[in-house]
Symmetry: C2
Subunit: 206 residues, 2 copies
Amino acid sequence: MIKDLPPNTVERLSLYRRRLLNYPNEDKLYIHSHKLAHLLKINPAHIRRDLMLIGFTGDVHKGYNIQNLIDKIGKAIDCKHTQKVAFIGIGDLGRAVADHFNQKETKLKIAATFRTSKPPKTQFQEVTCYHISDMKKVLIKENIELVVLAVPRSYAKAISGEIIRTKVKGILNFTSVHLNVPDRIFVEDYDVIAKLEKLSFFTNTA
Amino acid sequence: MIKDLPPNTVERLSLYRRRLLNYPNEDKLYIHSHKLAHLLKINPAHIRRDLMLIGFTGDVHKGYNIQNLIDKIGKAIDCKHTQKVAFIGIGDLGRAVADHFNQKETKLKIAATFRTSKPPKTQFQEVTCYHISDMKKVLIKENIELVVLAVPRSYAKAISGEIIRTKVKGILNFTSVHLNVPDRIFVEDYDVIAKLEKLSFFTNTA
DNA sequence: TTCTTGCTGTTAATCAATTCACAATTGCTT
DNA sequence: AAGCAATTGTGAATTGATTAACAGCAAGAA
Ligand SMILES: NC(=O)c1ccc[n+]([C@@H]2O[C@H](COP(=O)([O-])OP(=O)(O)OC[C@H]3O[C@@H](n4cnc5c(N)ncnc54)[C@H](O)[C@@H]3O)[C@@H](O)[C@H]2O)c1
Ligand SMILES: NC(=O)c1ccc[n+]([C@@H]2O[C@H](COP(=O)([O-])OP(=O)(O)OC[C@H]3O[C@@H](n4cnc5c(N)ncnc54)[C@H](O)[C@@H]3O)[C@@H](O)[C@H]2O)c1
C-alpha cells in the first residue's frame, strides 16, 4: 500500500482496475494510455500520471501490461488483510449495492447485513443477516471495519452513535443525514438528489 | 439561473437547501454560516463564499434568513421549466433512488420509468411504467431531459445509443459502463465499488 | 456614549487536481 | 543506417477548490 496517494487517484485506480479486469476477454495483453483513457473518457495524461504515482512503468511501444498493472494497482490500494464490510439496512438500496458488489472482483468482503424485520438465515451466498439490535455486538466480534449505511434517515443518528463504539473506520453514508462521528472515522456521503440537481443545472446553462 | 457557478458549489447549494427545508421545523427563521456549516460538516467560509456567488446576503447579526435563502438557491440553480426525469431500469436500485427522490422537495419531476418485464399500470403516484421497447418514443414525446440509468451493464451501451437520438441532455449513470455519447449530453457516473475501495485505502493509511 | 463581541462579505493565500507540452525512447520503414 | 512515428514519463502551467484572515459593521453591555 502506497502512502500519500491523492484521493481522486485512488478512486481512479479502482476504476482502471475494474475496467481492465474485463479487458483480457478482449484478447489483448497490453493497453495504451490513450486507449484506456478513451474507455473511461478521461485525459491520457491523467492515467500516465496516476501510474507514475504508483511507480508503474509501461513499454514505450506496447503500452502497459494489463495483468501486471492490475497486480500493481492491488499492491498500491488494497489493504493487506481482507477488510470486512457490513450493510446496515438491507432494503432496496442496500440490496442493490450488495448485489452489485458481490458481482465484482474486489478484496473487500461482505461479512454481515443488518435489518429490523425478522431476518432470513442467509442472503448473498454465505453472508449472515442479523437483527439490527445485534449490530454493535456483531460489528465488534467480526472485526468489521467498513459499513454501508442505508437505513431510513430517522435512524441514522442513533445508529451512527452505536457505530462509533466499534472498530469501524469508514462509513459509506446514503442517508442524507450528516453524521457526527469522531475524526478517526472516514465518512463518504452520497446523495442522488444533489447529483441530479447538478445535472439539471449544467444541462441548462453550459 | 446563474451562469458560471462552479460544479461543487451547485452541488452544495442543493445540499444547503435540502438541509434548510428541514430546519424551520426546528423553529428558527435565521441561521448562521457556522451553524449550517456544522450541520453539514464543512467550513463556514465555504458557505459564505457560495452564497456570495449567488448574490445572497445575510444580516451581520441574525445571519441568513432561511426562507429567503431557500428561494434564492432555487433562483440560482433551478431550471425555469420543470425538467422531467425518467428512470431507465427500475429494479432494486432504480426503485430505491426513485423512492428517495419522491420523498424530497425538488423541482424535478419523475415522468416515466422503463423496464423489460411486463409493467404494472403505475408506480410511484402518477408515474407510468413503460416497456423498454417504447423508450425512445416516450422520451421524445414526453420531452424528457434527464435520465437515471440503472439497467444491467450489458444493456447500457445499446440503450445509450438510443438515448442520444432523443432530447435527453443529462444521464446519471450507475451501470459502471462508460457511455459513448456526444458532448452535448452530460454524464455523471457513480460507482460504489470505487468509493468503498477509496474508503478502504484511507482507513488504512491516513 | 463607548467598548466589546461576534458576525458577514471578500480578498488573498493555500492546496489539490488536471492538462499541456515535450524530451527521451525505440520499433518500424525505407 | 537513418529517418519517421508513436508512445511513455514528467516538469511546468493552468485551472479549480478550499481555507484563512480580517475589515467593517451593528447590537448590546457597561
Ligand atoms: N443518498 C442517496 O443517494 C439515496 C438513494 C436512495 C435511497 N437513499 C436512502 O437510503 C435509505 C434506504 O433506502 P431503501 O430504499 O433501501 O429503504 P427500504 O425501506 O427499502 O429499506 C430500509 C432498510 O433499513 C432497515 N431499517 C428500518 N428501520 C430500521 C431501524 N430502526 N434500525 C435499523 N435498520 C432499520 C430495514 O430493515 C431495511 O433493511 C433511505 O433513508 C433512503 O432515503 C439514499
Ligand atoms: N454504480 C453503482 O454504484 C451501482 C450500485 C448498485 C447497482 N448498480 C448497477 O445498477 C444496475 C441495476 O441494478 P439493480 O440491482 O437495480 O438490478 P435489477 O436486476 O434489480 O434491475 C434491473 C432493471 O433493469 C431492467 N432491465 C433488464 N434488462 C433490460 C434490458 N435489456 N433493457 C432495459 N432494461 C432492462 C429490468 O427490468 C429492471 O428494471 C446493475 O447494472 C447494477 O450492477 C450500480
